[in-house]
C-alpha cells in the first residue's frame, strides 16, 4: 500500500533528517487492510534509524507526538485502530521541543 508519511517537530532527525517519505508498505497477513498499529511497527523497523524511544512507547507513539491521518487527528478515527487506505497521508509531529 502506497502511503505518504511526514515527520515534523524534530522527528525527522530520527529518519535521516528526511521529512517526507513516500513508502510502500506490505501487509503482513496478505489482506488489504492496514491499521495504524501495523504502520507504526513498520515505521519503527524500516524508517527510524536511531533512538526509537523518541518516537514510540510500546505499541503506540510516545506521549507528546501528534498523529494526523489525512489532516485529521487520529484520536477521532480510533487511534491505533484507524484503518489506512491507498495514498493516505500520515503526519507525525513532535510537541516535545523548545518554544
Amino acid at each position: 500500500m502506497k502511503l505518504t508519511l511526514e515527520f515534523g517537530g524534530g522527528l525527522e532527525l530520527l529518519c535521516d533528517s528526511k521529512k517526507i517519505h513516500n513508502v510502500n508498505v506490505e501487509q503482513q497477513n496478505g489482506e488489504d487492510k492496514l491499521t495504524m498499529k501495523d504502520l507504526l511497527s513498520w515505521v519503527r523497523t524500516n524508517l527510524i534509524k536511531e533512538r526509537p524511544e523518541m518516537f514510540m512507547k510500546g505499541d503506540t507513539v510516545r506521549p507528546g507526538v501528534l498523529v494526523l491521518v489525512n489532516d485529521c487527528d487520529w484520536e477521532l478515527s480510533g487511534q491505533l485502530s484507524t484503518s489506512l487506505e491507498e495514498k493516505d497521508v500520515v503526519v507525525f509531529i513532535s510537541t516535545l521541543h523548545g518554544g
Binding site: 524534530g10 501528534l66 489532516d71 485529521c72 478515527s77 509531529i93 516535545l96 521541543h97
Partner: protein
C-alpha cells in the same frame, strides 16, 4: 469520494458549529472540533486572557521574545493578528537572542527573520558575544559539554531584559505555555523553592521592575500551540532544522536536550513524578485532561506564611541587574569564565534537599537567596 472515505472512518461533525467535519479532538477540552472553530476558540481564549488580565495598554511598546521555536512563532503571529483585529494599539517588536551556537541558533534565527518579513514586525537580535564577550560555543570550549544550560539560561534571561531596555519597550511577552507553567509549579514544589513558587504562576512578573514580562499563553496547552500553525497553510513551519553550517557539538546537545526537556527534568526528582507528567501529556482519561490547568490553579492558590523569610531583591553591584546577592548570577559566571575558573557559581549547594545530580540546574551558594537568576524562571 474523499468525503465518503472520511465518513467510513466514523469522523463526526464539529460540536461547536455542527456544520463542518471535526478534524481534531481538542487536547484542552476533548471536544470534537473543526479547523475553523479551532482557530476561533484558540484565538478567542487568548484574547480573553489578555483582556481580563489587563496585560496591555494602548500605545504600549511590546517586545516579543522570539526564539524561532513553536511558542514564540505562534505568539508573534497571534498577537499580531489580535492587535489588528481588536485594536489593542500595540507597537510590536521581535526580540531574539543569539547565543552563538553554530548549527542551532542560526537556523532558528532564520525563522525569526522570516517572521519579521511575514508579519511585518521589526526585529532586534542581541548576541551573547556583544553582551558578554562570550559565545556559547566558546564557553563550551572552556567548560566542556556539562553545565552549559546553566550559563545559557542565566545569560539569556539577562539578554532579554537588556535587549528590551535597548529597544525602549514597555513590556516583554514570552511564549511560556500552560505545560511550562505546570511543570515549573511542580518543580518548585519539589525543590521547596518558595520564592519562585510564589512568582511562577503570575501572568505578569516584575510589575515593579522597569520592564514587566507577561505570558499570554499561560492557559494555552502546548499541543494546541503545535496544532494551530499546522492547520494554517500559509504559516510557514517553525524552526526548520536545516543544517546550514557544520554544527558544533553543542548543537546535538541542544537538539536532544530540547526533545527530552520535559522528561529529563521530571526524571531528576522521582520516577513517580515523571509517570504523572506523562499521564498529563497523554490525557486519555477525561479527568486527567484538566490536570495541567489544575496544577496551575494550585500554584496560584499557594499562600506563604507571613513569618517566612523571603529573599530580598536588590541590585548587582557590578552591572545593576536585579539580584538578591551582591553580584547577580551572570556576573558570577562571567567572572569565572574570564578568570579561567569555570566552576565558579556551579555546584551543589550545601544542605539542599535535592541530592540529585542535576547538571543543568543552578545550585550555587548556600541558600534560596542565591538562586535568584535560575534556569527555571526565564
Amino acid at each position: 469520494m474523499e468525503e465518503e472515505k472520511k465518513r467510513q472512518r466514523g469522523v463526526r461533525l464539529c460540536c461547536l458549529c455542527n456544520e463542518r467535519r471535526a478534524s481534531l479532538k481538542r487536547p484542552k477540552t476533548l471536544e470534537h472540533i473543526c479547523r475553523e472553530c479551532f482557530y476561533r476558540v484558540f484565538e478567542d481564549e487568548i484574547h480573553d486572557v489578555i483582556i481580563s488580565n489587563k496585560l496591555f495598554s494602548p500605545g504600549d511598546r511590546v517586545a516579543i521574545g522570539a526564539s524561532g521555536g513553536k511558542d514564540s512563532t505562534v505568539l508573534a503571529y497571534v498577537l499580531s493578528k489580535l492587535n489588528k483585529t481588536y485594536n489593542y494599539g500595540l507597537d510590536l517588536f521581535l526580540l531574539s537572542i543569539d547565543e552563538g551556537i553554530t548549527g542551532y541558533r542560526d537556523d532558528s534565527l532564520l525563522t525569526v527573520h522570516r517572521n519579521q518579513i511575514q508579519y511585518g514586525l521589526p526585529l532586534k537580535v542581541i548576541s551573547y558575544q556583544d553582551l558578554y564577550g562570550w559565545t556559547m560555543d566558546n564557553i563550551v570550549k572552556m567548560i566542556g559539554l556539562k553545565n552549559n544550560c546553566t550559563f545559557c539560561g542565566v545569560f539569556r534571561r539577562q539578554a532579554l531584559d537588556r535587549g528590551a531596555a535597548l529597544l525602549k519597550v514597555d513590556k516583554v511577552v514570552t511564549g511560556h505555555n500552560a505545560d511550562d507553567i505546570a511543570e515549573t509549579v511542580l518543580l518548585n514544589i519539589l525543590r521547596g523553592d518558595i520564592a519562585r513558587l510564589s512568582r511562577c504562576t503570575s501572568i505578569i512578573t516584575g510589575e515593579d521592575a522597569p520592564i514587566p514580562r507577561c505570558k499570554p499563553f499561560k492557559y494555552t496547552y502546548e499541543k494546541e500551540i503545535v496544532i494551530y500553525p499546522f492547520f494554517i497553510i500559509h504559516l510557514l513551519p517553525f524552526f526548520l532544522l536545516l543544517v546550514l553550517a557544520i554544527p558544533s557539538p553543542l548543537y546535538y546537545v541542544c537538539i536532544f536536550q530540547e526533545a527530552r526537556l520535559l522528561f529529563h527534568r521530571m526524571h531528576l526528582f522521582s520516577k513517580c513524578i515523571s509517570w504523572f507528567c506523562s499521564r498529563v501529556h497523554q490525557g486519555f482519561r477525561e479527568n486527567q485532561v484538566w490536570a495541567i490547568l489544575d496544577i496551575i490553579k494550585s500554584g496560584e492558590n499557594f499562600r506563604i506564611s507571613a513569618t517566612t523569610k523571603m529573599p530580598e531583591q536588590g541590585t548587582c553591584e557590578r552591572c545593576g541587574y536585579i539580584s538578591s546577592q551582591k553580584w547577580c548570577k551572570a556576573c558570577v559566571l562571567l567572572d569565572g569564565l574570564n578568570r579561567g575558573l569555570p566552576k565558579l557559581g556551579i555546584g551543589r549547594s550545601r544542605g539542599s534537599i535535592d541530592g540529585c545530580k542535576d547538571r543543568n540546574e543552578k545550585n550555587g551558594g548556600k541558600s534560596i537567596e542565591s538562586k535568584q537568576c535560575g534556569t527555571l524562571d526565564f
